[in-house]
């Protein structure tokens, strides 16, 4: 595929998605909004997790801060949605800078656990904040405009994906990849590792906060448990890893495919959906640990052996 062809294909796909509200059912749009937001979150995680190699469980904090920034601005200060969204992004970036600098010094599991613990701390702090409605949450004004929410979500996803496309072809992105592959070697080759990691964390924060703000206004009610939901972070990771971490479209495809599966399951087999979802995660990690992107690249060559080879390669 030539670059030009890829470009045309991308624009066509974006246009097609953008026109969806004019012929799809409200349920599909509803599903679309939630999937686009999840894809945005996965793309955000891709920047810090996929490119930089830091398994962040802090992205749901960004989502929560975006939600609460928007909600507090709109409910407590009667500001317009746009201002709220910016306020949420601002909160999130400040959080990324303040927390990122000490926490990004930790590596591997320790970073993961630190961010995991921080999300518990954030939930607990917000539960005690008067301005955030404590643990009883905030009720946002009702806006009957799913088309608007859909287009907004799509725009943010496009922005996130274009940013990731730029990252994958830029000096900045190569710096991140170098950090992921070997942080000491990256530093010794002149990569400002601290700055790059914090920037990646903040950038992930921007997109997650945008998604959070849109989600809050759309769902109209937020409370600490749903806004700082850790399982949302796990979903971002699963979607990214399923699609292919460190690739441009992997997280988006991962989000679309897994949301589709999960939504179908919730409707079709209702109570067993979660069980099945757990099984899918386990199976995916065992049989295709490098994601769909890798599967598609190598499946043609190896065929069904692809799965058994993965197992052989990673088992003890």
């Amino acid at each position: 595929m030539t670059l030009r062809f890829k470009f045309i294909l991308g624009v066509a796909a974006a246009l097609m998605l953008a026109t969806l509200p004019w012929f799809a059912s409200p349920t599909l749009i509803q599903f679309g909004i939630s999937t686009l937001l999840l894809a945005t979150l996965a793309q955000g995680w891709n920047i810090i997790g996929g490119f930089t190699g830091y398994a962040s469980f802090g992205n749901s904090e960004f989502f929560g801060l975006g939600s609460y920034g928007t909600a507090i601005a709109m409910v407590q200060w009667q500001l317009p949605f746009g201002v709220g969204l910016i306020f949420g992004v601002l909160l999130s970036v400040i959080f990324a800078l303040v927390v990122g600098i000490p926490v990004l010094r930790l590596r591997g599991h320790y970073f993961a656990i630190a961010t995991l613990a921080l999300s518990q701390v954030m939930t607990a702090i917000v539960s005690n904040l008067e301005v955030a409605g404590r643990n009883t949450g905030l009720v946002l004004p009702l806006l009957n405009g799913d088309t608007l929410f859909y287009e907004l979500s799509l725009a943010v996803l496009l922005l996130a994906t274009l940013t990731v496309l730029w990252i994958s072809n830029s000096r900045f992105g190569f710096g991140l990849i170098a950090i992921r592959e070997n942080e000491d070697a990256a530093a010794s080759m002149g990569v400002n590792t601290t700055l790059y990691k914090v920037l990646a964390f903040a950038l992930a924060g921007v997109f997650s906060a945008l998604a959070g703000g849109i989600h809050a206004y759309w769902i109209t009610f937020i409370d600490p448990v749903s806004a700082f939901d850790l399982s949302l972070n796990v979903k971002m990771i699963i979607m990214t890893v399923f699609g292919g971490p460190g690739s441009v479209l992997g997280p988006v495809i991962g989000a679309f495919v897994l949301s589709g599966i999960s939504e179908t399951l919730s409707t079709e087999i209702s109570s067993l959906a979660n069980l099945f979802f757990g099984v899918v995660i386990v199976a995916a990690v065992v049989f295709m640990p490098r994601g769909l992107a890798d599967l598609m690249r190598r499946f043609r060559k190896t065929g069904w052996r692809y799965f058994s080879e993965n197992v052989k390669q990673h088992r003890l």
């Binding site: 997790g49 398994a55 000490p102 926490v103 010094r105 930790l106 591997g108 599991h109 320790y110 993961a112 656990i113 630190a114 995991l116 613990a117 921080l118 518990q120 701390v121 939930t123 607990a124 702090i125 539960s127 005690n128 643990n135 796990v234 990771i237 699963i238 890893v241 971490p245 067993l272 979660n274 069980l275 979802f277 757990g278 099984v279 899918v280 995660i281 386990v282 990690v285 065992v286 640990p289 197992v311 390669q313 990673h314 088992r315 003890l316």
Partner: protein
């Protein structure tokens, strides 16, 4: 009047400290298995809480169906969970033993979901308790009320910790496990297959979770969804105590128990999580080897 107030404040404080220490003992037992598996296999087991939950149900069914006292059921509960852990490692985790770190997080999360859902299907979402006749008994020492089962649970937790410590230090298998923590191949020097060590260690971690679950059921209620909070608590304790020695975990557990109790008393019960997880983050940043661990 004023003196009476001072006396009652002191009494409350000592009661709270005792509560914290006793709670800490149970916490420590919950975290022990997690720390062992993490330290030796480098697996952060997000399904640890689910294993504790299973252990609690084993204890519950042994008590209600066969009328076995929960403290006598402890070894049985541990044995059952040992098998569960051993099979999980052999059947699933072993398949990704050499994959990237994300993957172990993801797969244990997946296992957690599956175990929880299966528990809901087989045990139902009803709230259960292991409620032997003596469950609420207590005795007074210097004006402080000591709940019998919590004291017993504390003693059992300490005993299991010491047993684990002795096992790791003084048996060939234990030394092989410790060596594996440093170097995968090292187990061979002790004439043990690394594969076997992995499964044994995970089984041991699960057995400790099973024991903790059995005791948890005696002091608290159980349902299929208690796992997530227990996993989070176990993390905090393992990190605060450090992964190097079982004794560190006990110190971490008691420290956390006391901090939580004091926070609830002086700041407010809704601030408990801020305190415990805030400390976890600070420990990670400033003393990554745990409160007792060596500084670098």
């Amino acid at each position: 009047m004023e003196q009476a107030l001072v006396v009652s404040t002191m009494q409350l404080l000592s009661q709270i400290l005792v509560n914290g220490v006793l709670l800490g003992g149970l916490y420590a037992l919950m975290a022990l298995g997690l720390a062992l598996v993490w330290g030796v296999l480098n697996i952060v087991n997000l399904a640890h809480g689910a294993l504790i939950m299973l252990g609690a149900y084993v204890g519950y069914y042994l008590f209600t169906l066969l009328n076995i006292d929960p403290f006598l059921a402890l070894p049985l509960s541990m044995a059952v969970l040992f098998c569960v852990g051993y099979l999980l490692q052999r059947g699933i985790l072993n398949l990704i033993a050499r994959a990237a770190m994300f993957n172990t997080l993801l797969i244990t999360f997946g296992i957690d979901v599956v175990l929880t859902q299966l528990a809901q299907i087989f045990f139902s979402a009803d709230f259960r308790t292991i409620n032997p006749s003596y469950a609420g008994s207590n005795f007074m020492v210097f004006g402080v009320t000591l709940p019998l089962v919590r004291v017993l649970a504390f003693v059992v937790a300490l005993a299991l910790t010491i047993a684990l410590w002795l096992f790791l230090l003084h048996t060939r298998l234990g030394r092989a496990i410790r060596a594996t923590a440093q170097n995968l191949g090292a187990a061979r020097l002790y004439g043990v297959e690394p594969k076997a060590i992995y499964a044994l260690t995970f089984g041991l971690g699960a057995a400790l979770a099973g024991g903790a679950g059995d005791l948890y059921g005696v002091v608290s209620q159980i349902n299929p969804y208690i796992g997530a909070t227990l996993t989070a608590k176990s993390f905090a304790i393992a990190i605060i105590g450090g992964l190097e020695s079982p004794l560190g975990v006990v110190v971490g557990g008691i420290f956390l128990g006391v901090v939580e109790s004091l926070t609830a008393l002086y700041i407010g019960p809704t601030f408990v999580d801020i305190a415990s997880f805030g400390i976890l983050v600070l420990v990670l940043i400033f003393r990554p080897n745990g409160l007792l661990g060596a500084t670098t």
